[in-house]
Structures are given as structure tokens and as C-alpha cells.
């Protein structure tokens, strides 16, 4: 099926590698950089891989986008070495301290300008977990958004996707073009060849600033954020109910009840009998739960 004008915008984000030890700096003003490693978000690389596969199979054009400071050029050059046709990095003064709404405004504006048929990115960030900004940007631009996608198929004027939902279930969903697709970390991103990496060193990275988007400065960064960053701190420990042991019990039982971590004794109805009777009893339980016919 020919796709003459299938242009895909892939949002690439960096994230902090959560494996090395980390600590908050003075008075929770931020996270200490020492020992902290910034890496490409794995789910975003999966989204890029899906886009490159569509480029190879259907002739799509792929634009890689990163929002952040100059070090993200390396991420875009990685995208270029994997096969991205165009690389854009957006950043300007005063964009720090934003929240999901301010981030989404920037992304929505870029989507509005580039008008891609598909916006691809990862469903979750490795360090922060859920990031609502891409879905919010899609909602601001009134385009449908499919999250937690594991498989994507293109039809003439729409996409059909398989997505993960709660408790291990899946859904088949369709959405018209243009739409945003947030991928799970399923596709393994390719390892670029040495020649491709060498060529990507000189790949041009377009640098976009606030003026290119036509957004006023008070709508982005900390000034445009609806939620102000307060601090980074140690997570609060979840309160655990402590069992008060019965003073009449022997010492061993009292220690055991303290160590049990709140395990409550249940009814403990015991049934004895022949193997036939007991298997009939278990079968009845399975029937009550709707497992056995």
C-alpha cells in the first residue's frame, strides 16, 4: 500500500539511569549530578525503531525531535545513524522547571507546525514512570492518542493497534490519521553500523528556539507551569499497621505475630474425609468461583 506523504515525528527523551545511587542536593533543590548518568529512554528508542521499520517498508519520512539542552544532539545523532531523515532539537532560555502542561504546550506547537501523520514516542519514562505530556499535547491538538501500544498496523486512512490494558488484558483499537502512538518497550532498537555512526557525526541538527514556535515565554518553562516544583526528597515510608500481640499468648507466639507483618488469620475451616469427598468439596469451591463448569 503506497504512503506518499507518511511523515512520522518521533519524540526522543533522555532520562536518568535509576541504577547508580542518587541523592538530593542541598534543601532538595534538585538531584545531585555526581554519579548520575543520562541515557536515552528505552521505550522512545523502541518507538524510533518502529518508525524506521515503517520507513523501510512503506517509505515514510522520519523526523527525530528532542526537547532539551545541547547534549541531546548526541541522542539525535544516534537517531540519524539508525535512519532518521531529519533531526530537530528545541531549547531556549528559561525552559527549566516546567510541568506536564508547559511541556505539552511546546510539543503541541511543534506538532502543529510539522503536521506529522504519526507522532511516536515511548509510553513510559525509565526514571519517572508515566509522562502525560505527549498524550496531553495530542489532546491539545485534538488528535487521538493510543498509549501502551505493542503492535501497530497501518490502513489507508487509519491505524490499528494492539495495546496493553489492566490486569494483563489487551485491546485492539483504531484511530484516524493524524494520531499519536505511545509504544511499550517491545521493539529492540537496531545497532547502527560504524559507517552510519561516522556519517551521523556530521548530520545536521536543526536548532529551534522559542521564536520559531511563536510561543510567548510566559507559556513555557517555570512561568508557564501550573504546578511549581517544590523539592526532591526521600520518599515517605508507607505506614504499616503494627499488630498488638495478645499478652496471654506465649512469648514465641507474640514475637511471631509481630514478625508476621499484619498477616491476619482467616476462617481456617478444616475439612476431613475420604479422597472422594474432599475432591468433591474442592470441585464445589471451583464451581462456586465459576472456574469449573
Amino acid at each position: 500500500m503506497p504512503y506518499q506523504d507518511l511523515n512520522i515525528l518521533v519524540l526522543l527523551r533522555e532520562c536518568s539511569d535509576p541504577r547508580p545511587p542518587a541523592k538530593a542536593i542541598t534543601r532538595g533543590a534538585g538531584i545531585s549530578d555526581r554519579g548520575l548518568r543520562q541515557i536515552a529512554n528505552p521505550a522512545d528508542l523502541s518507538a524510533l525503531e518502529e518508525a524506521i521499520r515503517l520507513k523501510e517498508s512503506l517509505g515514510a519520512s522520519v523526523t527525530a525531535l528532542a526537547i532539551g539542552p545541547e547534549r541531546l544532539d548526541d541522542l539525535l545523532r544516534l537517531a540519524a545513524s539508525m535512519g532518521a531523515d531529519r533531526c530537530i532539537r528545541f531549547w531556549d532560555h528559561g525552559l527549566d522547571g516546567s510541568d506536564a502542561v508547559a511541556d505539552a504546550r511546546v510539543l503541541a506547537r511543534i506538532v502543529h507546525i510539522l503536521a506529522p501523520k504519526l507522532l511516536f514516542t515511548g509510553s513510559r519514562l525509565l526514571d519517572r514512570g508515566d509522562d502525560p505530556a505527549p498524550a496531553l499535547a495530542a489532546a491539545m491538538e485534538a488528535i487521538p492518542c493510543l498509549a501502551a501500544v505493542t503492535d501497530l498496523r497501518l490502513n489507508k486512512n487509519s491505524v490499528a493497534a494492539l495495546r496493553k490494558v489492566d490486569r494483563g488484558g489487551r485491546q485492539e483499537v483504531t484511530a484516524p490519521f493524524p494520531c499519536a502512538v505511545l509504544f511499550e518497550e517491545v521493539a529492540v532498537s537496531r545497532y547502527p553500523t560504524v559507517d552510519a555512526v561516522a556519517a551521523a557525526v556530521r548530520a545536521p541538527v536543526e536548532k529551534w528556539r522559542l521564536a520559531d514556535l511563536g510561543l510567548p515565554f510566559w507559556e513555557v518553562g517555570a512561568t508557564g507551569a501550573y504546578l511549581t516544583l517544590a523539592e526532591f526528597g526521600v520518599p515517605r515510608l508507607d505506614p504499616v499497621r503494627v499488630v498488638t500481640p495478645d499478652a496471654q499468648l506465649p512469648t514465641f507466639e507474640r514475637i511471631l505475630s509481630l514478625l508476621s507483618g499484619g498477616i491476619k488469620a482467616r476462617e481456617g475451616k478444616l475439612r476431613t474425609g475420604s479422597a472422594d469427598e474432599l475432591s468433591a468439596g474442592i470441585w464445589q469451591v471451583l464451581q462456586e468461583e465459576g472456574i469449573a463448569p
Binding site: 509522562d131 494483563g168 498477616i263
Partner: protein, 262 residues
Amino acid sequence: MLDTPARLGRVLAQQITSGSATLVLLPHNDLGTTLAPVLAAALDAALLTEVTTARRVNGNLQLSRSALGGRLAESRVWDGSRPLIITVPVRLLSQVLLPSIKPSTPQVTAWQPAPKADDSVATVVSRIPPDPQTVDLTDAEVIFSAGKGCDPATFGKLMELCKLLNVSFGVTRPVFDLGWTGFERMVGQTGRTVTPRLYLALGISGSMHHVGGIKDAKRIVAVNSDPKAPIFPNSDEGFVADLREVIPRLLDKARQACGGAA
């Protein structure tokens, strides 16, 4: 309308506006995470997902969520000038109700939005239920779990029973150590903490580490030949029986009910 969650979000946004609500709480599940951005865009509201704690600081609401893979908490302040949409992971909610929280009776309002076709939103075409044989144990609805009281022949029959009845199977640490299954099938505090509708513990003694991983199961039924096994006080119903006698009988019943072998 659940097939078009974006449209549901737009209808909800109208209700929220007419009700002058300023704070919208949603569960951090599939529907909640789909609705939250739609509501935030429609209401021009602040949005924070996966919120773990909330407290008042200087008259404002300070909300926290995890950062850096849960090692740090990121706190943000909401001044109340705009509506706020938050999603809360149900599994992270504290099991302990603080004494300062007084239970109240919420006012429930039901309404029926007018059906309206909309081709511009994502539409759910079909729902595929989870396959119990492959689903993650933390998501499983029914689990048959084998302990050390299961010999290899009985274990094989149990696997067949699970396939016939279309339920998930789990094991305890000693059975995992024997190499009969992968680590992803191990239930307990050092393996998977599970919350099924029915947990059938077969040949499991009921060590504290195992019971700690199943304590939130809705119904626990235990089968063990030792009437003094610690699993029995921690189960809703106990059967003192030998698995070598019970499992073949259950398998025969399942085969008859399902009309043949798996």
C-alpha cells in the same frame, strides 16, 4: 462510551465544569490515564500522574510522585488557581487509614450522556482477555499453586488441570529451587506478591514468606496432608488430603467436564 474514552473525557469535562469541581482524582489505570490528559486539555487544568502523597503546606497542596525509579520523591505545589487532575496508583495507596481522616458518605450522581458518533477519536474494536497460562501472576485472577508436598507426577497432572480449567499456576520457593518452573512463577515475598480472586494452595506448608505474598488474595483454599500445617489458619477453607489422591480425581472431573483431554 467506554469504547471511545476520549469522547467520554469530553463529556466528563462538561460535567466537571458545570459542577465547578476544582480537583479531579482518577485511578492510575488504563481508563484513568486515558481520561486525565483529555480532561486537562478540555479544562485547561494542571495535571500530575502517579501521585503517591498529598499534604497541605502553607495553605497550598503539595503533591509527591516517585522519581528516579522510586529512589526519590518529586514534590510539586498546586496553588488552587486552576483545576487539578491527578491520577493515583491504587496499589500504592496506604493500607492504614490515618486517625485524622473521617469517613464520609459521598453524593452519587448518575446521568446518561446522549450517544453521538465521533470518527475523530480512538475506538476500541475488541477486548482480548488475558491468557491465564502466560499472564503475569500479579495480574492473575485464579492461581493454583504447588508446594513441596507435590511430587513430579502430581505436578505434571496439576499443570494439565490448570490448562483444562484455564487458570494460572504458581509455585513456592522450594519448588522453584527444584528447577521445575521459572522465577516468574514463584509466589511469595521474594517472588510475586499476588492478589487473585481464588488462591488454591496445594501441598504448601504456609511459611510466613509465602503467606506474606498471598495475604491480599480474596479467597485462599489450602490442601495439605498435615492438619497442623500453618497454611490452614491463614486460609479461608482447608482440606486435609493427600495430593496424590485428590489431584487425579480433580483431573478426571475436569476432563469429563471439558469433554476430553487438554
